[in-house]
């Protein structure tokens, strides 16, 4: 196991290095200036400012400086937010994004599993059709539509929850619901399919033949086996939530990281773009690693093939 993880960590580092390099090259190819008023300054005046940010150095020198900083964990200084460190900016913004993402993931998966179970157990019954409709709507309607509807009805019309902004737990409820819809629907569909398949397996028939109670069969033999494949989609769902919060963060005025990313791209704030890219890359890769390890733990066949 240790060897397997060690191997994976080395691959991770190589992947991160490649991502860092490719995004650096792409950044240099981007047309544009980080200056807010490039149209008002003469070229000589612009040179003076570029000097401060090290943009007058040859590109290989900039690349080495950038990689050097990255290795030491220094993401540099923002161009747009004068003198503000990129790490500080990201640190300020990870909290709200993580809170929303985690709340949405927990609610989404738990509700999704329940919905999927109900569907599978009452296969082809009314509750199956109802929960399938919910699942189909959830995957096909974009989250920002839900966000707009929630905001309009729950907050403006009924006045139950705040419209937007970020001042405490009640402010996170609507964005969490809007975000949870997609993972819920995805999990529900997945769970339903898996559960129906598992319930038709021979060992379930054996369990029934042994005379086990219906609930015991479903909980002890059914759910546990149906859950295994679900773990695989949790990773991508989690990363999707972290990056996918962008629109939701904007609609609910949440000071999160996705929103920061887009703002930086439009203002050519290279250090923040690079910092956010690396952050997302690390989260994604670590998430995949965790999922792989978890998967190995749950299903020994994976672990064995990893060792061979």
């Amino acid at each position: 196991m240790a060897r397997y993880i060690g191997q994976r960590v080395i691959y991770m580092i190589i992947t991160l290095f490649l991502i860092a390099t490719i995004s650096f090259v792409l950044m240099k190819l981007l047309p544009g200036s980080p200056l807010a008023n490039a149209d008002k300054l003469t070229e000589a005046q612009q040179e003076v400012i570029f000097e401060k940010y090290g943009l007058n150095d040859p590109i290989p020198v900039q690349y080495v400086n950038y990689l050097g900083g990255l290795i030491q964990g220094d993401l540099g200084i923002s161009f747009k937010y004068d003198n503000r460190g990129v790490s500080d900016i990201l640190a300020d913004r990870i909290g709200p994004s993580a809170q929303l993402g985690i709340q949405a993931l927990i609610i989404g998966t738990v509700l999704g599993i329940l919905l999927g179970l109900v569907s599978a157990i009452y296969h082809n019954g009314i509750s199956d059709y109802l929960s399938t409709i919910v699942a189909v709507l959830g995957t096909s309607i974009p989250s920002f539509v839900f966000a707009g509807l929630l905001q309009y009805f729950v907050a403006v019309k009924w006045g139950i929850l705040p419209v937007a902004t970020w001042n405490g737990f009640e402010y996170s409820i609507l964005p969490t619901i809007a975000l949870a819809i997609f993972p819920m629907a995805t999990c529900a569909r997945f769970m339903r399919t898996e559960m129906i398949e598992v319930l038709n397996e021979d060992y379930i028939t054996t369990a029934r033949a042994k005379g086990l109670a219906g609930t015991a069969i479903i909980f002890k033999h059914g759910i546990r086996n149906a859950l295994i494949p679900l773990v695989t989609i949790l990773g991508p769902l989690a990363v999707g939530l972290l990056t996918g919060t962008l629109v939701i963060e904007q609609i609910f005025s949440v000071p999160g990281i996705g929103e920061q990313f887009v703002t930086s791209v439009t203002s050519n704030d290279f250090p923040i773009i690079m910092g956010t890219t690396m952050f997302f890359a690390v989260v994604f890769i670590v998430m995949i690693l965790i999922i792989d390890i978890l998967y190995g733990l749950i299903d020994p066949r994976i672990r064995l093939s990893g060792k061979d």
Partner: protein, 567 residues
């Protein structure tokens, strides 16, 4: 058995890491929740709480007055700091740290300001002439990397450009403290609007001791700021909320009635409108799609922007004469566009038709009349005249089919606008084909600098209140000309205004009026519209001045009339 243990362990691990992250998240947001409920408390008794809750479109990029270079930075540094003068109602100048009018030498090059002795920093230090010298040197210092420092000071304050490019020492900058309360400024050339410049953040004083103590952290958080203006910043939750409260140590604190301004970052217009409708904020800005719904509401508020938009008509593209070198061709293009349709249908955001270069209500002459009022409409929509001029132009050029390329940005609004312009031009001018070239902002700048376009949708927003900021744009080989327009008459009028007539307001004013007439008689540009913004604003907001340049709004004289909001 063994398997289920593993599963349990894994689940516990995953859950505990979730929970840990969860509680961390809610802790940090709990700490930032100080300003809750202020939205509701505003609707109290008549003229009750002096609190404004406003939306802001983005995080403030910088609260460092030397570095502030966007609308939000300029807006809020202007509220917590004060320069020699301050913009008051209708863009007039009010006393700031300077008292009375400056003493100006006969050649207009030496300006001496007397500072008030009762002005203090928040920490009790007096505001002295040295604070100005330090701030101005800091803004032009190449190590600071300020954009507005070299832009606002270059060519204005003696040696500013040389200091910025490292050819002169910092102390050679033309500003010195004669004594604690006397500031002497040397200019490169007579700059009659210099007082208006001093209202801009770049020219605001800084407390050297405080700034140096803070070092790299200066202006990064609310605690790293020192106010000498009407308000001080007390909270700054980056990307989310900001709070400004009245600064009791401000020399004119008696005038300031507003106790608190809360800002909430809202990027989505629909969210802003929902917040406004539920009373959580007192003002929010509208985009075109919301204007139609709200234009008849009592709290709909259009605010003119002083940015002037026009088509640049390039006469010589990269060394080759374009059809627009022909005056009749330019006149045809300039008169062929129905600008009413452009502002009312396409833009629909409070913009108004423009028939000159200078925006309306931007600057008044010595006679007290608005520039636009005196010069009137110079180049209007006239399809018949356009067709006639176009026929003449085609004859003179000996061409029947003409193709022109129009350069513009790549935003949604640019797309809608350029589609409209193409349709108007091709319909009204027979034999004209308009090719559209849409590029990102920076690439547009590069193409503009190179003069690589036939027609460009272009605009200019002023940074100080004087006709020169607009009239200087089109002098021969000027930085912003780039369309090969050259008129001796225009050049000499603008030149006279900044030399011979620099100290003669009437003659100088006349120079600018005449220069604009020459520019538009030549149809060097085709005026399109004056930009505007639309807001929903609660009637409780009173005494908020909207400025023609610098900070968009001035809150020093503002107050909350809660009784008006109740009605």
């Amino acid at each position: 058995m063994r398997k289920s243990n593993w599963l349990l362990l894994a689940l516990v691990l995953v859950l505990s890491s979730f929970l840990a992250a969860c509680s961390g998240g809610s802790n940090s947001s709990g700490g930032s929740g100080g300003g809750e409920g202020s939205g509701d408390s505003a609707s109290g008794s008549a003229n009750g709480d002096q609190v404004y809750n406003l939306t802001i479109g983005d995080e403030i990029p910088s609260m460092d007055s030397s570095l502030a270079d966007d609308q939000y930075g300029i807006q809020w540094t202007s509220e917590i700091q004060e320069g020699l003068y301050r913009l008051a109602e209708d863009g007039s100048l009010a006393e700031g740290i300077a008292t009375g009018d400056p003493e100006v030498s006969e050649d207009g090059l030496t300006w001496t300001f007397t500072l008030r002795e009762d002005a203090e920093w928040e920490n009790g230090d007096p505001v002295t002439a040295n604070d100005f010298v330090y701030a101005w040197q800091r803004a032009i210092n190449p190590d600071t990397g300020s954009e507005y420092g070299p832009y606002m000071m270059g060519g204005v304050i003696k040696n500013a450009t040389a200091v910025n490019t490292g050819e002169a020492e910092l102390d050679e900058l033309g500003v010195k403290a004669v004594d604690d309360y006397t500031l002497e400024v040397q200019l490169e050339k007579p700059v009659p609007y210099f007082e208006s410049l001093t209202t801009f953040p770049t020219f605001m004083p800084l407390n050297q001791k405080f700034v140096e103590e803070q070092g790299e952290n200066y202006a990064l958080e609310a605690d790293n700021l020192l106010s000498n203006g009407p308000f001080k910043m007390t909270e700054w939750n980056h990307g989310s909320t900001m709070q400004f409260v009245k600064n009791d140590t401000y020399w004119d604190a008696d005038t300031v009635q507003l106790e608190e301004i809360n800002l909430q970052v809202v990027k989505d217009t629909a969210t802003g409108v929902n917040l406004y409708d539920t009373g959580a904020v007192d003002r929010t800005s509208l985009t075109a799609e919301f204007v139609d719904q709200r234009i008849n509401d009592e709290d709909y508020l259009p605010v003119p922007d002083m940015a002037s938009w026009y088509l640049k008509l390039n006469q010589n593209r990269m060394g080759e004469e374009t059809p627009l070198a022909n005056e009749n061709a330019r006149k045809a293009v300039a008169q062929a566009i129905d600008k009413d349709g452009l502002v009312n249908v396409v833009l629909n955001n409070g913009s108004t038709v423009s028939n000159g270069l200078m925006p309306k209500d931007f600057v008044k002459g010595p006679d007290g009349k608005d520039f636009r009022e005196t010069n009137g409409d110079l180049l209007t929509y006239d399809a018949e005249a356009a067709k006639e001029a176009w026929a003449t132009a085609k004859e003179e050029l000996g061409q029947d089919e003409i193709t022109l390329e129009i350069l513009t940005g790549d935003t949604d609004l640019s797309t809608q606008m350029v589609d409209y312009l193409k349709e108007q031009l091709e319909t009204n001018l027979e034999g004209l084909t308009v090719d559209v070239m849409q590029v990102p902002f920076q690439q547009r700048l590069d193409l503009d600098t190179a003069g690589d376009f036939d027609i460009e949708v272009s605009g200019w927003g002023p940074d100080y209140i004087d006709p020169y900021t607009f009239m200087n744009l089109f002098v021969t080989d000027g930085e912003n000309n780039r369309m090969a327009y050259s008129s001796e008459e225009y050049d000499s009028l603008v030149e006279q205004a900044s030399t011979d007539n620099a100290t003669n307001p009437e003659a100088r004013w006349q120079n600018f009026l005449d220069a604009e007439k020459v520019l538009l008689e030549d149809a060097a540009i085709a005026p399109l519209y004056q930009a505007g913004y639309s807001y929903l604003q609660s009637p409780k907001l009173q005494g908020v001045f909207s400025n023609p340049a610098g900070n968009d709004f001035e809150y020093k004289w503002a107050y909350a009339d809660n009784a008006a909001a109740e009605e």
